[in-house]
Symmetry: C2
Subunit: 161 residues, 2 copies
């Protein structure tokens, strides 16, 4: 058994629902309140354009299903680990966000897909050449008739069609 | 307090030391043994070229320092969260690896920087367009005189100079 302790709190405008994946926007409503004990750990962080936020998905209490059909996809059964569903054996969330500013122990970021009050577990820098795999692929998303439309859902970008 | 349970074990050739970041190689010595209860969760995973492995860095028992000077860098003090040091408040490791094969519940991957026997916490697909940020930067690594050489260290790639 592994025990962890939150190091801060993520604040978002999402009180009761959240998009499936981070929205790219710069509205400043998304920020992290890092606990005071860790403020010194932020030195030089602002040099990075993107960071990873790792967080504990604390609102889920259902036992995860190993296989399921995701929203917006009919007739497609997927294994849990081939998806980004939040309902996982270890509910650790991972979001790549743009780093907008660091003011004392407040970290202002671009949009991400979590409820307000989500416990923060870690911050890591997203490093060019190490983390951006230009030859990455879409996996099973290639099977979707309208992948571009589906990616809007995945990213949580609002759209009218 | 948050509690997690390992879902498998990562196997590597590193018994007593490990490089700082994943090595890109395809030797097949790196694989995950997923616990049997989760085998069904692997359906369609092999469609992806890259995956994230999240793991528990279980060999560290030192209290992390919020600021330090990393190896190979003199006169540079960095905040912990601006680095990928394994010694973190919540020692969750994150590696992007190439997915080579999935055979039953054995997941064969490219090299990564962990000790043999490291507990696995999660597997997530690395999705093109969502995770590869082409405009990412190098952060404080830009200050290093010989960044290319330093990146070999960061990636754990052996070199003679």
């Amino acid at each position: 058994m592994i025990t962890l302790e939150p190091i801060g709190v993520i604040h978002t405008p999402y009180l009761n629902n959240a998009p499936y994946q981070p929205v790219s926007n710069d509205v400043g409503e998304f920020y992290v309140d890092l606990d005071e004990a860790y403020t010194d750990g932020l030195k030089e962080l602002l040099r990075f354009k993107y960071i990873y936020l790792l967080f504990y998905i604390d609102r889920l209490h259902e036992k995860p299903k190993m296989r399921f059909t995701p929203p917006w996809l009919e007739n497609k059964e997927l294994g849990l680990f081939a998806t980004r569903t939040p309902n996982r054996p270890n509910p650790i969330g991972l979001s790549i966000v743009k780093l907008i500013n660091v003011i004392d122990r407040k970290i202002i970021v671009s949009g991400l897909d979590v409820f307000d009050g989500t416990p923060l577990l870690d911050i890591k820098p997203y490093i060019k050449e190490l983390d951006d795999k230009n030859d990455a692929n879409y996996g099973w998303l290639d099977d979707i008739d309208n992948r571009e439309h589906f990616m809007l859902h995945i990213k949580g970008i609002p759209h009218d069609y």
